[in-house]
């Protein structure tokens, strides 16, 4: 987190709006905007949903104290400035952070925003019966206190090198105490009106909300920038499918902005050729990977021992086999076929922010069948008559799970063929995403339980700090039957050196040193071939060519600067 660049970010944002055009535009002058989310929004209260679509929609109504700009730098939003060690906002022992609200902030109903609202937001989300989706943003907090109407002091239980998690980013916005004070804990879902039309500080207010269908917004009359937002009204339609949404922007022009267009590269390219719209892509921490299981998941084992550290995997615990599997994959080709311009081949566990992406692993980008074969020969796996390798009577055969998704099935087919070429047989299985990503302990097919040898999915982390993401691969963090399978160390990796290095990262406040440690951890993990990174995936949306002011942001809501969107007129 380099705060030096904060100013840079703000300057960049200003530069994006040509000064001459800005003078003509005023609140509501751009008229009406149509947005399509093919997965419809189900509530406007992000604390009750946790989905990205709900977070995005609510981000134009509810705002945090600070958020990330397109470059991943912190920008003060409702706060006057970003508190740092230098300006005294963060205490020397790294245990408290003091935020000051901007002067004169108003809620959309005209009442003033106070520090009490911030304190209340913490209380709302940490209520034990509330089931708040962003509860972990408030983990490790001892107290949140309003010192005066404009000052909030957050005290952490331990020294916290990265205090910019609570009230920062679209997942942690401030809600109005007056509106939500009777909605604490178990009563939260009863406040339907508040959940569907929250009072906020953002550029828009909800005028009509239909769950999982459509939302209508109009400009917030009390928005702090008098000339913004430029669009007077927004219709935020939901439903349909990704192809239909893309078509509505690129081909029929019915929509101005479409979110999350995960379509085949050729399909998008063809639609784009009409010239009515353009694709917006930016790369964040989302990465498609193959996890290799370090434990034996044989169906012959009893259920409470299957997939546990008790039984190491008979094949994949050998690093030579893991490396061979990695060498046999042509990541560039996978990217070209599955994602085109919206993906980048990668060999890293931590792919973003750019400063934390390791430059040391790029040799895996080139497919090397000879080396892969060599490694397997060394490991004692010999080719049988059908071309599949065996060792001590055991076939080199792997069960390959993933969720159902056209691109993932293409990847499975390609990888199956490459692995067959080096003498590894693969059984493919695709599982309904609702089951695969669910955590029903009775289902054998969840990605957490991982009762397969290898599995493919994409994962990411929140914000710009990968520390919690790296923590997931520590010993003892693996899912276990005793605990009903929670735990995030999906592949049951365990390396004491890694754990020691992570502990060092968790204590380190110096940004430069933190970066080095992240890269070192990343290298240790991927050079152990503990999992196989494949593709860094971008956020993909589309806008019509006459929509201006849109700046794609992967670190926050992609509607972070919604107030500045405008219609380009000739």
């Amino acid at each position: 987190m380099r705060l030096k660049a904060t100013l840079w970010g703000a300057a960049a944002a200003l530069a994006l709006v040509p000064a001459a055009a800005m003078a003509e535009r005023e609140r509501g002058s751009s008229g009406h905007l149509n947005i399509i989310y093919w997965q419809a929004v189900s509530t406007m209260n992000p604390f009750l949903s946790g989905g990205t679509k709900e977070m995005n929609a609510s981000s134009i109504v509810l705002e945090p104290l600070a958020r990330f700009d397109a470059a991943g730098e912190l920008v003060a939003w409702l706060a006057e400035e970003i508190p740092t060690l230098d300006n005294g906002g963060v205490s020397e022992d790294l245990k408290t952070i003091t935020w000051r609200l901007k002067e004169g902030l108003l809620w959309s109903d005209g009442t003033p925003v106070t520090a009490a609202d911030v304190v209340f937001t913490h209380e709302y989300c940490t209520h034990p019966e509330g089931g708040c989706s962003y509860r972990d943003r408030f983990a490790g907090i001892e107290s949140v206190v309003a010192e005066d109407d404009h000052t909030v002091v957050i005290t952490f239980e331990d020294a916290t090198p990265n205090p910019y998690i609570p009230f920062v980013g679209a997942g942690s916005p401030i809600i109005q105490q007056a509106q939500f004070q009777n909605c604490l804990g178990a009563r939260a879902p009863e406040c339907t009106d508040a959940n569907f039309a929250p009072v906020g500080t953002g550029p828009y207010v909800v005028t009509d909300f239909r769950p999982n269908d459509v939302i209508q917004f109009e400009a917030n009359p009390n928005y702090r920038v008098p000339t913004q937002p430029y669009f007077a009204t927004i219709t935020w339609a939901g439903g349909g499918d990704a192809t239909g949404a893309a078509r509505a922007v690129f081909q029929t022009g019915e929509m101005d902005y479409a979110w999350n267009l995960q379509l085949a590269p050729e399909v998008i390219e063809q639609m784009q050729s009409g010239g009515q719209g353009e694709l917006l892509v930016d790369f964040g921490p989302l990465m498609e990977r193959i996890e290799l299981n370090f434990t034996d998941v044989s169906a012959d084992l009893p259920d409470d021992e299957r997939g546990t550290r008790m039984h190491p995997h008979p094949i994949l615990t050998d690093i030579r086999v893991r490396e061979a599997l990695s060498r046999a994959i042509d990541r560039e080709l996978l990217t070209e076929i599955g994602y085109g311009p919206t993906g980048r081949a990668t060999c890293n566990f931590i792919v973003a922010p750019p400063a934390m992406a390791s430059p040391n692993n790029d040799n895996c980008l080139v497919q090397d069948m000879d080396r892969a074969n060599e490694l397997l020969d060394e490991a004692g796996w010999e080719r049988g008559p059908d071309g599949i390798r065996t060792r001590d009577g055991m076939r080199l055969e792997l069960l390959f799970n993933t969720s159902t998704n056209a691109v993932r099935q293409d990847f499975q087919a390609l990888i199956q063929q490459w692995w067959r070429e080096i003498g590894v047989d693969t059984r493919l299985r695709n599982i309904d995403a609702g089951v695969f990503f669910g955590s029903d302990p009775s289902s054998p097919d969840t990605y957490v339980k991982f009762w397969a040898d290898v599995q493919m999915y994409a994962s990411l982390f929140e914000g710009t700090d990968p520390t919690p993401h790296l923590e997931q691969r520590r010993c003892g963090r693996e899912p276990r039957p005793e605990t009903q399978w929670p735990g995030q160390n999906i592949n049951r990796y365990c390396n004491p050196e890694y754990d020691a290095l992570w502990a060092e990262l968790n204590r380190e406040p110096d940004p430069e040193r933190r970066q080095e440690l992240v890269i070192a951890l990343n290298d240790m993990f991927v050079q152990d071939f503990a999992h196989l990174p494949l593709v860094a995936r971008g956020r993909v949306s589309a806008k019509s060519t006459d929509l201006g002011g849109v700046v794609m942001n992967v670190w926050d809501s992609e509607h972070w600067n919604q107030a500045e969107w405008y219609r380009i007129t000739e």
């Binding site: 085949a264 050729e266 076929i337 087919a413 390609l414 063929q417 695709n430 309904d432 289902s443 054998p444």
Partner: protein, 316 residues
């Protein structure tokens, strides 16, 4: 197979008696059926097409020996050529080979699931319509199955039975059994309701009353008098059933409940091709065409069979 002797007698009686007929040796009635079937142009054409499809998927892979899963990444999205008569897909797999292998599964699933659905549907329908005692319970069961949401039901079936079936039958065969049973037990209700409705009316007809009055056992009444007369709605259900089974299978594959991803099926090819419809329409047209041809041919065969088996129409 004949239902009532009366109309048949009438039919012969209606024809002018010619001396030739008197001296002809008695013929097996199946020859009559065949003669009638042969005279039905649609049915003949349907049979030809159906046989072609069976040969295409059955023997085709032996003649066209290309691995349907083999990826040739350099020649992806190709149009028709000598090495790939139907072109290639987005990974460069040969579409002709995929159509052949896919057809095996689709035709097998379509026919088996249809037969299963038909069997349950007809059984339930006849029992419920004919025996008043079981009508209530059977029809309420039908209501239950109609109301069951298909997707959660399949998820439960996969959870409970997939591993067991995979162990006993092997991965692919296990999935086959699972899918056929799943489609079968969720598609019999319409047939059951239709058959029951017809049986309710038929069992009050004079000839059934007559049969009962001379002490014919229920089993005989059902098999000789009732069943032949509900044949035509059953035939329609059968033809529609094949189509919906093939399509349902594609929806299941799409949801990840169907065959493993390296098994192509027509439904899945059609579904996968949907997004490419503008660039490569052939990728949707081929599987769509084959599904339609299968359904059409089965439909015409059904039409012909029904006409041929109905002694009132035969010889008309």
């Amino acid at each position: 197979m004949t239902d009532v002797s009366r109309p048949e007698a009438e039919a012969t009686a209606a024809k002018p008696f010619t001396p030739d007929q008197a001296f002809r040796p008695p013929r097996n009635q199946w020859w009559d059926v065949w003669d009638q079937f042969r005279s039905h142009r649609g049915a003949l054409l349907g049979t030809l097409v159906f046989v072609f499809i069976i040969l295409f998927v059955g023997i085709g892979p032996w003649i066209w020996q290309v691995d349907p899963g083999f990826i040739d990444i350099r020649s992806r999205n190709q149009g028709p050529s000598w090495s790939n008569p139907l072109g290639t897909d987005q990974l460069g797999r040969d579409m002709l080979a995929r159509m052949m292998y896919g057809g095996r599964i689709s035709v097998a699933v379509g026919l088996t699931a249809m037969f299963l659905g038909l069997l349950i549907g007809t059984l339930v329908g006849v029992l419920a319509g004919y025996f008043r005692r079981v009508d209530g319970i059977l029809m309420r069961t039908t209501d239950l199955f109609l109301a069951l949401p298909l997707l959660p039901l399949l998820l439960v079936m996969v959870l409970l039975f997939r591993d067991m079936l995979a162990r006993n039958f092997g991965e692919a065969a296990g999935v086959f059994v699972l899918i056929v049973v799943a489609i079968g037990i969720t598609s019999w209700m319409q047939t059951a309701r239709i058959v029951r409705g017809d049986v309710l009316a038929l069992k009050e007809r004079e000839y059934v009353l007559a049969a009962r009055s001379i002490g014919t056992p229920s089993r005989r009444i059902v098999s000789r008098h009732i069943l032949p007369n509900v044949l035509s709605p059953i035939m329609v259900s059968a033809t529609l059933g094949i189509a919906s089974a093939i399509i349902t299978e594609s929806a299941l594959s799409f949801l990840g409940l169907g065959f493993p991803p390296d098994f192509p099926t027509w439904g899945r090819l059609l579904f996968d091709g949907r997004d490419w419809i503008e660039q490569y329409p052939a990728r949707v047209v081929w599987p769509g065409l084959f599904i339609s041809l299968t359904v059409l041919s089965v439909n015409f065969i059904g039409d012909g069979l029904r006409d041929a088996l109905d002694p009132r129409i035969r010889g008309r």
